[in-house]
């Protein structure tokens, strides 16, 4: 993979759609359809778009992995071709959208809907963004600080426009970004940021079991280590009566799913996923629960071959 090509592709997609994979913001907010949510309010549920992007990430990285196998020339050529098509006004992402199955896309929307419904049941009023922007984390991870700055300055403005003083987040990366990273780039970002699990627990919400009654818990790195959200998922699962099994490496010492390097080193990334999944499997249940869309997609890919099932926590409880 050539970083120059990666950089240009990301920049061009960002210019067109403010999204690294070219996924439209109007698509990202589709989870809210039919929920009758207001567009303004004191509290905002902001998803950061990662769940919505999973089907696209999967198609894209499947492609990258195959291209990686074909050698550097082909994979760099493909990146360049992607840019070329972009510049001709062909939207590859919408082509990818045809490839990804409807059921898949629906699955990730429904996780978000369940979070929204749980919050509602717990008595939380919140708004949403009709055109929901991506969280920008990939740009930051890759060291593309200028693009990240542009992205989060706009994001901060959009959040402000909703009138929110408090943002509820649903994934570890967006949570970390809003709690810490954005402050290095946007001067007056003084919105309170809370993870939805904290909100649910604070409201005394008692979930019900929806999926398996016993799961191995996988702490997402950014949730456990970088945001310190460790006891919360356990508390919710236990409240619902789900039996939680702890792997050898858990909590602050949890093992990474390999997802973060999946766009640059797809094969290595799946080896890391497998290794972690073997650790999880060794803790006694073939059902894993995760609380991060990146972990979800990276494990999902290997799940069938390893004979395990991977659930988002909101597919285990409701």
């Amino acid at each position: 993979m050539d970083l120059k090509a990666v950089k240009s592709l990301l920049e061009e997609n960002a210019t067109r759609t403010w999204n690294p994979l070219g996924v439209r913001e109007s698509y990202c907010s589709k989870w809210a359809e039919g929920l009758n949510l207001p567009k303004k309010g004191d509290t905002l549920l902001y998803t950061g778009c990662l769940y919505q992007m999973i089907p696209y990430i999967q198609t894209f990285s499947g492609l990258l992995k195959r291209l990686e196998g074909l050698g550097p020339f082909i994979s760099n050529l493909a990146l360049t071709m992607g840019r070329l098509l972009n510049s001709l006004g062909v939207n590859i992402t919408s082509i990818m959208g045809i490839v990804t199955s409807r059921g898949e896309r629906e699955r990730y929307f429904s996780i978000l809907r369940r979070i929204a419904n749980a919050l509602k049941t717990a008595g939380v009023d919140f708004a949403y963004m009709k055109e929901e922007p991506y969280n920008g984390v990939l740009y930051h991870d890759l060291g593309m600080d200028e693009l990240f700055r542009e992205h989060v300055v706009r994001l901060a403005k959009k959040i402000r426009e909703t009138g929110a003083k408090k943002v509820i987040t649903v994934d570890p990366h967006t949570t970390y970004m809003l709690n810490y990273l954005i402050k290095e780039f946007v001067d007056d970002f003084d919105v309170e940021v809370v993870h939805y699990m904290d909100v649910l627990l604070e409201r005394g919400y008692t979930p019900k079991v929806r999926g398996p009654k016993e799961v191995v818990i996988h702490d997402p790195c950014y949730l456990a280590r970088w945001n310190g959200v460790i006891d919360q998922p356990r508390a919710l699962l236990t409240k619902a009566g789900v039996r939680v099994r702890e792997p050898e490496f858990s909590r602050k010492f949890t093992g990474c799913c390999g997802g973060p390097i999946e766009s640059l080193f797809p094969s290595l990334s799946s080896k890391l996923a497998r290794k972690r999944m073997e650790e999880l499997k060794a803790s006694g249940s073939p059902c894993f629960t995760v609380m991060c869309p990146i972990c979800l997609t990276n494990f999902q890919r290997e799940a069938r071959e390893l004979g395990v099932r991977v659930f988002d926590i909101m597919e285990v409880i409701e």
Partner: protein, 392 residues
């Protein structure tokens, strides 16, 4: 420079090597068990690590001052001190001190690996022996030391037994690790007595006393540095702390986070043997203080963290990427390995290679949890990426 293909091909290839995987799995499981025991038994260790972090921060901010104090102390005791600004300069100084046609015994030292010192001295017609078992294996089996504490972490005992059988021409039982250690010891014993020069690195260096601190488990270090008449210590400038008491703290933290309840031996050398006083030990004591990028890094607000590293190896054992590719991460040319290895390579070696390898990091942060100094490797590696991305 911007093409990551070679990095990805190398790492993909080694991640499929079953011997490497078995070796790493065993080593990591064993480390994790030992670590849990050590943390439980010595509950004060985290506090001591915090104190060492403060000592290191102060020392790096006062590098020049400490260097001056260290040089003065070494020379006051009759030793000779040198400052080498580059690897090249260090090799030149050491090359002159050693000469040619000599026998050299070496303690395991990452800093001398950084200088590719063994290769250099051999090329100049010397016989050089690594006396640490792991490093001895690396000398003959390659490709490079794969871990700070456990350089032969990539080799299984089965592989080692196979090699020793060929090398020594005797039967070797693959399950008898002690027996293998004894074999190598026996082979090296003669070398200690015939050696002209002993060379080591340093785990810490006390400026006021001019004292080198060396931790070890095999007693090979004390033999390699006390029996030959000439002793050379190669000390990275980041190793210098103000006093002996500080150095002791550093040493304890290194060995505990390295997974040892106790290390078997801790050596300190404070000067040459004094003639006519019946002292036993080398009559020449040479200390080379190595800059090689360290001074520059000490002035860089983000890279500076690299210099707090004690090289205990904890982060390598616990890094998910390391668990799959071992020391190949950072590249075969680098003396260093893993995420922290990429940082060290960036500071002391080839910035281009280091930059490419910086993109492999998951930014998952388990290394921060593992590390006694709580060095933020993701932050540094991301910064290295940033410096490239803004240019291309």
């Amino acid at each position: 420079m911007t093409d990551l293909t070679e990095v990805s091909q190398l790492l993909n290839k080694v991640s499929e090597d079953p011997v490497l995987r078995t070796a790493l799995d065993r080593a990591i499981a064993s480390y994790w068990n030992k670590r849990k025991q050590v943390m439980e038994r010595y509950s004060y260790i985290k506090e001591l690590a915090d104190e060492v972090r403060r000592i290191k921060e102060w020392s790096i901010d006062h590098m020049e001052e400490l260097l001056g104090r260290a040089i003065e102390a070494v020379e006051a005791k009759g030793g000779r001190a040198y400052v080498a600004e580059t690897a090249e300069e260090a090799r030149k100084i050491i090359g002159k001190l050693v000469g040619t046609g000599k026998v050299v015994t070496k303690a395991k030292s990452m800093t001398t690996e950084e200088l590719k010192l063994r290769e250099f001295l051999i090329e100049r017609g010397n016989e050089v022996y690594e006396t640490d078992l792991g490093e001895f294996l690396v000398q003959f089996l390659g490709p490079k030391p794969m871990h700070f504490i456990s350089p032969s972490i990539h080799l299984t005992r089965e592989k080692v037994a196979e090699f020793l059988k060929d090398f020594m021409g005797v039967e070797v039982d693959k399950d008898d690790v002690e027996g293998m250690v004894a074999l190598v010891r026996k082979f090296l014993r003669d070398k200690y007595f015939s050696a002209d020069v002993g060379i080591s690195g340093a785990n810490a260096f006390a400026a006021d006393e001019g004292a080198v601190f060396l931790i070890e488990n095999e007693s090979n270090i004390r033999l390699s540095i006390s029996l030959p008449p000439k002793y050379i210590a190669v000390v990275g400038m980041e190793k210098v702390v103000p006093t002996m008491s500080d150095a002791w703290k550093v040493v304890e933290v290194i060995s505990r986070y390295g997974g040892y309840k106790v290390t078997s031996y801790i050596n300190t050398v404070m000067g040459p043997a004094r003639r006519g006083r019946g002292d036993i030990g080398p009559e020449e004591y040479h200390v080379i203080f190595l800059d090689n990028g360290r001074r520059e890094a000490s002035k860089d607000p983000i890279l500076k963290q690299t210099l707090y590293c004690l090289r205990c190896g904890a982060c390598q054992y616990l890094c998910p990427v390391f668990g799959v590719v071992g020391g190949y991460w950072a590249g075969l040319e680098s003396a260093y390995s893993g995420g922290i290895g990429v940082m060290w390579e960036y500071v002391t070696g080839d910035k281009e290679t280091a930059t490419q390898h910086a993109f492999v990091c998951l930014l998952c942060g388990r290394c921060i949890e593992a590390c006694p100094m709580r060095i933020n490797q993701p932050e540094v590696l991301r910064e290295i990426r940033r410096r490239l991305m803004e240019k291309i």
